[in-house]
Amino acid sequence: MSKAIEIHNVEKRFRLYHEKAPSLKERVIKFGRLEFEEFWALKGVSLDVESGQSVGLLGHNGSGKSTLLKCVAGILRPTAGDIRVYGRVAALLELGAGFHPDLTGRENVYLNGSILGFKKKEIDRIFDDIVDFSEIERFIDNQVKHYSSGMYARLAFAVAVHVEPEILLVDEVLAVGDEQFQKKCLARIERFREEGRTILLVTHAADLVRRICDTAAVLDHGELVTVGEPSAAVATFRETLVRRGLEVPEEALDNPLWDHSQEVRITSVSVKLSDSSRSFLPSGDPMTVTVGFETRNPVDDVVFAVSIFNDADDNVYGANTSTLGLEPQRLSGRGTTTFRFPSVPLLDGSYKIHLGVHSIDGRVSHDHNRDCTFVISSDTKSAGIVDLAPEASISIDRAERRATG
């Protein structure tokens, strides 16, 4: 495999002037000796990124991770050391850099594309995809200054990911737009990865690193602390934060929604419908959900949870192996957990299955999976969520009958 990025012994020094933007007058008065402090943002960082690899750069604020990314992008020049980048680079350091408010969305797409080094013909080819992705078709010929910040960010992201760079540099720009759009961005980045493109991602969201990256590097005060497997790197990252007495950013916490201990990992999830030749489940038919798991070390008090949500995110059903009457387990090695539903009496609609593994007291979340969905098709014309399937009967009293007759 060839190298995509070679970072060799890179150092970067910043001069922090006590007063910003020294003028000629000040320079003359002080004979050019302005007071400044030297600050080494990077102290001899070496890192190689193979082509097709996605690497996460973790670090606290001021650790130098963004500086390193800017050096790779060519925006900052290292004070010492050298950086080689092999391939066409798109840097998502800030979305919409280079958008001009007075130009229309269309004009800005071309301008932004050419800033990233692409030809008009290439942009012509992908223009429709960009507009589709950004979901602002109606406004593409309006001036960008009339856009909402969400529209602005969506268009900018759409340009950056559609120009198909060989190397994508991302700096925490995923925190834009609504959740829906964020998912779309993530999916796009994951596709990038599958296509064998190289990704260098700066973030402090540990979950993101685990999801997207093959390797993670941790920077601490300008020094590279560790490079390795994402989970291990995330652990090291947290240690550096704690050691420095720094506030641990929210994204790096063990938020059950975001972050999991991974002591028990869900390796596979399968949903078996009553008739596997059909893509939907007739209402009332049985369904089986099988969860494959593995552990690296024996883990005590493990509980598996299953929840079903409808389209409106209402929790239709939820239970775990403990509430279902199974003792909390001590797990080691590989295995499967099965939830067998004898009948799923739900009404028409698509449903999501959330699966989770956590400790019996709920304090440690090991892993989760939210990828499964199934579709119910029912013959009834009833409304609601659950097919309670009442039997209906109408009986008529004789007295009433006489009164009306």
Partner: protein
């Protein structure tokens, strides 16, 4: 795995050993980004008069208004007596306008595009070249007005000297490119540069024979007359005047207009094409050297642009 790894040749950002790419490489980079150059130039043109009622007409009105003011002051009040003054004046003003507006926008090109410089990589020189491109478009538009004026005043340009104009224009562009790149880089560190430049351009305007005749100054300077040629704009401006205005003396033309100076007074040198060419060539070579120097300075300073602005 797609065919990405087969794509060749792949660009290298930053040379090994020295983090600073050479001048030739940077000129190549600018060429590789010519698409962006075109787009930025278009952007400059679109944005400049956006929202203004007259739009592009401003680009034409500007020299005409200048002309009216200077005509009144110099011809009517001071009685300078240059025949066909509008042609003489516009022939010098248009290249000067191209020079001064380009230098002005070039100098603040890096500081004015802080958001771009801090966030995206592309050859920074493009930011300086793009406004020059936009001003070149304005120049050509204004040139149309000048051609209209030539027809109106029934002045025939000199065909021989007109052949020198492309070279004069090229020289002007190299000169303004060099100064723009130099000043833009310095301006990032010393913001006074752009304010100083305003004064400099004002003085420079009056030191260039645009509203007055070249020979008037040369004659009053006596044997130091050649010093006037140290101003590179002089050679360029008088070439434009020689080609378009095409009178070397006041003799033989509208005598009423020439009352200030006697008939037969000299305006621009009645020298050969070769003389004009040689002057231009000297400026051209000097500008090239300056350009190289400017690129060298720019290259040394640009590494810290992103953190200084």
């Amino acid at each position: 795995m797609s065919d990405i790894t087969d794509t060749a040749p792949l660009p290298v950002v930053g040379e090994p050993g020295s983090a600073r790419p050479g001048i030739v490489q940077r000129i190549r980079d600018v060429w590789a980004y010519r698409e962006l150059l075109g787009n930025l130039t278009r952007k400059e043109l679109k944005v400049k008069y956006k929202g203004s009622f007259l739009g592009f007409a401003w680009s034409l009105l500007n020299p005409i208004l200048y002309l009216v003011v200077f005509w009144i002051v110099f011809q009517k009040i001071l009685g300078a007596g240059i025949p066909n003054f509008p042609i003489f004046f516009l022939a010098g003003l248009l290249p000067w306008n191209l020079f001064s507006t380009s230098l002005g926008s070039g100098t603040s090109a890096i500081t004015g595009n802080a958001s771009l410089v801090g966030r995206v990589w592309f050859p920074r020189e493009i930011l300086i070249v793009a406004p020059i491109g936009a001003n070149l478009v304005h120049f050509f538009l204004q040139f149309m007005v000048l051609i209209g004026a030539l027809a109106l005043f029934r002045v025939a340009p000199s065909p021989v000297f007109v052949t020198l104009l492309p070279f004069a224009l090229l020289t002007l562009l190299v000169l303004v490119g060099a100064l723009g790149i130099l000043f833009a880089a310095v301006n990032v560190y010393l913001r006074d540069t752009e304010h100083l430049l305003e004064l400099l351009l004002l003085a420079w305007f009056w030191m260039t024979p645009i509203v007055y005749q070249y020979l008037m100054v040369v004659e009053s300077l006596g044997r130091y007359g050649r010093l006037f040629m140290l101003n590179p704009m002089t050679s360029i401006v008088i070439t434009f005047q020689r080609a378009l205005y095409n009178h070397t003396t006041t003799g033989g033309v509208d005598a009423a207009d020439a009352r200030g100076i006697g008939a037969g007074s000299k305006i621009i040198p009645d020298a050969s094409v070769l003389w004009y060419f040689r002057n231009l060539a000297l400026v051209f070579v000097g500008s090239l050297a300056l350009f190289w120097f400017a690129m060298w300075v720019f290259g040394r300073l640009e590494g810290n642009f992103a953190e200084e602005i």
